[in-house]
Subunit: 149 residues, 4 copies
């Protein structure tokens, strides 16, 4: 099994702008959907993290390069690789690809760092042990073992 | 002073879609901004309503007719008239107008009903007395007195 | 086969607001996704409608009643029934349902009317014959035959 | 006059998520509003750029660090400094600040690079001379002269 997780996204009117392409901020929505589904694939619900553990993940930094624009009706795939797991943060490489008959075309690529914060104080806090364990399980499923930080 | 409240909105890329016009759901964002500013004009903060009164306003129903589309860079004005104030709800007439050199053009028009709910149980609850009083003050400032329900 | 079309939607952070529920305008995005997929199921691409036929669908009116709020991580299903097909418009009944272990719960219900317009002049125009034919095919697939208007 | 441009943004329900804070992608909307208003301050309309010059600006890269979250009702200010003007691109430093009684608090900071593309082919193209001249005028108004690249 590969450590790269993939999640399909379809481009709807809501995602596009008057330039005829997907609005640049919306790729961050697609990236977040993929991270949510990656967590869900390990049995982690972010709603339950808030309700039961009183913590949540927030984005600490993003660095995105835009290569080609997606358009209405495009079939897009979001890829995700966890690059580094810390006590209170996870670093990801993510990309968006247009899926076509002739293969995939890179739309944008980026580095995303998320951090765990207390849901009330909004201050950084350690990822709960039960969540951390599930994330480690996800990461080490792939052929490219990622050492814990 | 007129009971109709007005709030300006500028159309940005984020508001448009690949059809070259404002995406239809976004008029509901503009309408909500105007309701928020109308409440703020009476000293009502919805963040404080949640934090201090443990209640919030949610939309119960909308009925919108779309007449003409707004485009990128358009200067738009949102109008708001409170039509009926209940113990746990407020009914509004709202419209969006394009403001141009030759006058205003109606873009869309609608009826919105908001209700007050408990922020935890999400069940309907009475509008807090202090908030209700401020809303009454807003409504009766205008020439068209609106009777309380 | 039933004339009611269904499309699944998952609730992500992007869909929610600080009230802890899905922001009311976003149900219109979900409804639009379902209409787009319903058209796609008949082989109609809205991107190609713009590029090849120089027409597009826009929303003419909406009337929505909100019954219960969706929350982060909810599995939601959007239903769609075409109620009336005109020369230049289609009327739909649409609803959002939360899918749970104990069955479905109605979140909101509404009537949506879309119209066909020229993509340049933005004026109403007849639905192209090839598109109209495909929509008729979709509608008459179901057990509840809908007469053309 | 200072080369740093500032634009106010108010936080509405639409901007927040169930974590009680502004959704991370929405700062990119605020940054884009500020760039649009900066261009408008020099008499540049992006709608007219598309219609008359057949070109448009798109984002080529972003790098954002998130420091503190904005919440509902916050008064936020977006700052913008053009760092580098090329033949077909402009680099900006942008930040979001919460404006409070006790001063400003940095919410997020980033580098944004926009490029000019042909509105039909979507390929990179030179910024039209008339637009380039107006942007140069904007940049050189400030005390920190920026050399053209």
């Amino acid at each position: 099994m590969n450590a790269t997780f993939r999640w399909p996204v379809r481009i709807y009117y809501e995602d596009t702008d008057t330039g005829g392409v997907v609005y640049y901020a919306n790729y961050l929505k697609f990236f977040e959907r993929a991270r949510t589904e990656w967590l869900r694939s390990a049995g982690i619900s972010q709603q339950l993290m808030i309700e039961q553990e009183n913590v949540m993940f927030v984005v600490k930094s993003t660095a995105i390069d835009y290569h080609a624009p997606a358009k209405l009706d495009d079939a897009v795939e979001i890829s995700l690789t966890a690059e580094k797991l810390g006590r209170a943060s996870v670093n990801f490489s993510q990309a968006a690809w247009r899926i076509g008959d002739a293969g995939s075309e890179l739309l944008c690529f980026g580095q995303i760092r998320i951090g765990c914060i207390d849901a009330v104080s909004l201050r950084p806090t350690a990822i709960p042990a039960i969540v951390l364990q599930k994330i480690k399980g996800l990461i080490t499923k792939g052929p490219h073992r990622i050492s814990d930080q």
